[in-house]
């Protein structure tokens, strides 16, 4: 078996581990959806079909976000339960271990959001299935970016409660200050300009907008939005990979994370 095959095998094993927590994921997403519905009730008095159409791509992105951030939880557990030390005895380079985790996080995100997207297509007729397919690689990179961010928080958390605090803070900030729940025009009515700018350029907002416009709306895929998505996601994936790599180096030097 080549080193690359081993790397793929590790990524696949971690990815399969993701499915072993599918019910946890389902609960997390249900909680988010119920949040969204409550928000919808507040936003327009009742969920109209227009709002439903607006919300559905957001739910898909929410699934991607929840599944990708699960990477952080798995990394945190692996670090504390010693599985990482086991991985470090396998004939794979440190960089390979890092990449395997980030990529499996990306896969988790894309598989979960992909399934939600298929369900979404059943309830909201799609206008551009091809666009949705073209978007998938970019959503995968977004998922690796979020997985990277989660890996970063896992790396700097000494105890589980701290990791959960970081993960929840990440979720609240990225989901709340975004256009997943509300359109930018609504946000601008209540919040200052810089917050609106952050919400609009939030990678989750970019992904939700791309889905709304091109997959459900039928518009051509915007290279600008896709470019921004890449521009934001890749550095996040890089930060996560670097921080996970640093934690592995720390184990080599200090014997513990």
């Amino acid at each position: 078996m080549s080193e690359f095959s081993r790397f793929v095998h590790i990524a696949r094993t971690d990815f399969s581990y993701f499915f072993r927590t599918k019910w946890l994921m389902a609960i997390l997403i249900s909680l988010n959806i119920s949040d969204m519905l409550v928000t919808g009730l507040v936003y327009k008095g009742l969920v109209s079909f227009d709002y439903f159409r607006f919300l559905v791509p957001g739910i898909v992105v929410m699934g991607l976000f929840s599944a990708a951030t699960d990477t952080g939880r798995r990394i945190w557990l692996a670090l504390r339960e010693g599985v990482v030390q086991y991985y470090m005895t396998l004939p794979v380079r440190t960089s390979g271990l890092v990449a395997a985790y980030i990529i499996s996080g990306g896969l988790g995100g894309i598989v979960y959001s992909g399934l939600l997207l298929i369900i979404a297509f059943v309830v909201v007729p799609p206008q551009g299935i091809m666009n949705a397919i073209l978007l998938l690689p970019f959503l995968f990179i977004l998922a690796t970016g979020i997985a990277g961010l989660a890996a970063f928080f896992a790396s700097i958390s000494r105890v589980g409660e701290i990791y959960w605090t970081y993960a929840q803070a990440l979720q609240v900030s990225m989901v709340t200050i975004s256009t997943i729940f509300y359109p930018a025009s609504t946000i601008s009515q209540y919040l200052p300009g810089p917050i609106v700018a952050i919400a609009e350029n939030n990678p989750l907002s970019l992904a939700a907008s791309a889905l709304r416009d091109s997959a459900f709306g039928g518009s051509a895929l915007s290279t600008g939005i896709v470019g921004n998505l890449l521009g934001v996601s890749l550095p996040l994936a890089g930060v996560g990979a670097l921080s996970y790599w640093v934690i592995l180096r720390t184990i080599r030097v200090k014997g513990k994370p």
Partner: protein, 314 residues
Amino acid sequence: MFAVETLSLSKRYGKTDALRELNFTVDEGEIMVILGPNGSGKTTLLMTLCTILKPTSGTAKVMGIDVVKDGTKVREVMGIAFQEARGFWRHKPSSILKFHASMFDIDPVKRQNLIEQTMKELELWESRDKLFMHLSGGQAKRLETAKVLVQRPKLAIFDEPTSQVDLRGKRKIWDKIRELRDQGSTVIVATNEVREAEYLADRVTILHKGTLVVRDSIPKLKDAIAGGDVVEVGFEDPVADKLVEDLKNLGGILTMSPEGNQLRANVSKAEDWVPRMTSASYNVGAKISTIKITEPSLDDVFLHFTGKSLEENP
């Protein structure tokens, strides 16, 4: 070429020196037992050899490959069973073994049989449907050992392989470790259990406070303790002064205390001294009724070389 060779190997955690200028070798095809109390540096040495830890200074080679410069290649030829079992919590034992075997290119055709056989031998087969997180401490530990047995690496490392394992399980693990050696693997076992060391070791290395105190076969280590063997001889009649004088002249004796029909002697090598003692007794007409020889234990050896008992804290 040595299977393992370290030169001035040191590892420091903050202000604590876990290994100090360690020069250590293991021959190919032997079982080297590293004996030492908790905190002696055993696990640090093993973690360095399996490339998890980077030495602070010095070098370590496994099968001639530098553990720092070429860690991936070292990991191809070695396998380690950790002191604390490490596995994917939500995987079953057979999945864990299958993953491990595939990472080390175990023939897919033979893999399943090998895993099943190893699980049965280590009494894990009954627990094959449990998740790792539901295994008992002893089962998890046996699974840790099973990984290395399935892998059959050139260098197999076991860190306290039978801690938390019941007596019957211990014996099985020991036999499998010896079998691994017989199949050509070099084996390192770190332990602080004297019985385990006695059962397994071709040679023993005693580590104390991160330094190598002594390294040799168990009989030679025991012989190195002057007066370590205790010989108790029972005679049919009270021990005569003439016999005591003759025995003193035999040499190799440290202390001797005759009392009635009994004689107790501390000698360096009982196997040399006893035949000479029986001849001397015969020459003076003293009839021997019983002979009891007690060798020093490895704990005595450790005490002799370090001044501390294995059970004491460092």
